[in-house]
């Protein structure tokens, strides 16, 4: 269980870290000053969650790796995030649809983690993170509605974003031996158990946004076992270059 729990916490931490890094790419490139600040703020919250989660994952692993060792000195094949969060930002509509799809999942997952009493360190981090992701979820949902139910062009473009991103969402609800062990230990229910409520919440938002829910049955997966898209490698190259070149550098 100890090994599998460390794996499980890495998945949570990597989802937050990789999405934080992606969103921070918007800093100074946002479509409006307010949104630039919003995306950077969300990135900062996620980075804070990632730091706490990776620190805990390192402690549980027991090999002396801290948050920095895990963030900067793992290769792409060692990252455990879902593919959805590593995809390039695209245009603002792409970013905000991805954010909505992820936020709705993050809220359910942190709710479950915050209410369990098996792993109190994890529930403490989750309780804090839950407040933050609820705020993000309200923001991304409002934007999806505004763009979907906006102009003809904004509607067309976010519908395309949704169609492209949708096949990546099924991975969030996949289970394997790691998530099964966590569920048996009472730390977190199976990922599949979130799917029904997630679908209901997301369909509610899409309905209000006058967007059509894609019918895709395609399943793009692999992130949880380290099989990523090429986009993650490029992202990590940029994120890790300084620590790889000057290990331990601080300023």
């Amino acid at each position: 269980m100890a090994d599998q729990e460390h794996e499980w916490i890495l998945r949570l931490g990597d989802d937050a870290l990789v999405l934080a890094q992606r969103l921070s790419e918007w800093c100074s490139h946002g479509p409006a000053l307010e949104e630039d600040i919003a995306l950077s703020n969300i990135a900062l919250d996620l980075l804070g969650q990632a730091r706490a989660l990776l620190t805990l994952a390192g402690q549980r692993e027991g090999r002396g790796r801290d948050e920095d060792a895990l963030a900067y000195f793992r290769t792409d094949r060692e990252f455990r995030n879902a593919l959805l969060v590593e995809l390039p930002n695209g245009h603002f509509g792409d970013t905000i649809v991805r954010q909505m799809l992820f936020d709705q999942f993050a809220v359910l997952r942190y709710e479950a983690l915050a209410s369990q009493l098996v792993d109190l360190e994890l529930s403490a981090i989750a309780t804090k993170a839950l407040k933050e992701v609820r705020y993000h979820a309200a923001h991304s949902a409002r934007w999806v509605v505004r763009l979907g139910d906006g102009t003809e062009e904004s509607h067309r473009r976010v519908q395309e974003s949704l169609n492209v991103l949708w096949p990546y969402t099924a991975e969030l609800f996949e289970d394997d031996t790691v998530s099964q062990a966590c569920a048996e230990a009472g730390v977190l229910p199976l990922n599949a158990s979130f799917q029904e409520r997630w679908t209901e919440h997301v369909k509610g938002i899409l309905n209000e946004a006058t967007l059509a829910c894609p019918e895709s049955s395609a399943l793009l997966t692999g992130g949880r076992s380290g099989r990523h898209t090429e986009h993650l490698s490029f992202m990590l190259a940029e994120m890790q270059v300084l620590q790889r070149t000057y290990p331990g550098a601080e300023w």
Partner: protein
Amino acid sequence: MVSDRIAQVKRILDGVMDPELPFLTITELGMIQGCDLDDDGTVVIKLTPTYSGCPATDAIQDDIKSALQPVEQRFRIDIVHAPAWTTDWISPEAREKMRLNGIAPPEGSSADKAFLLGQSQTVPCPRCASSDTRLVSPFGSTACKAHYQCNACAEPFDHFKCF
């Protein structure tokens, strides 16, 4: 003797200001969640971050260290996540100081239904006290603030989010 050391540390902590809200102390913001001796006589300060990613948390630890070092060498700062920080811990006096400094303080309690449901609240203008204000952006200059504008006096202002 022991209580003297703790009392002295607490006094010094009471003088450490928040770097983003330099008119409020970290104690007034509810960020100090304990200050006690552990078994080997080290003073353990429990610090809770406001937001997970608040960059001020690192700066605050540095400020605590430089404030304490002249008088107390055996101390340690532990970051604690539970119970999760809430704006409910901000005292009425501290809220008034926010208002005087142009920041609308958090309204009500984080357990309010409107907050839980993500509904917008009435945030009075810290300059003219009008309740005719509008949300410009739910994200502001720091993680803890949202950006508002007063429709009555046109003042743009920060609102310390109820959290």
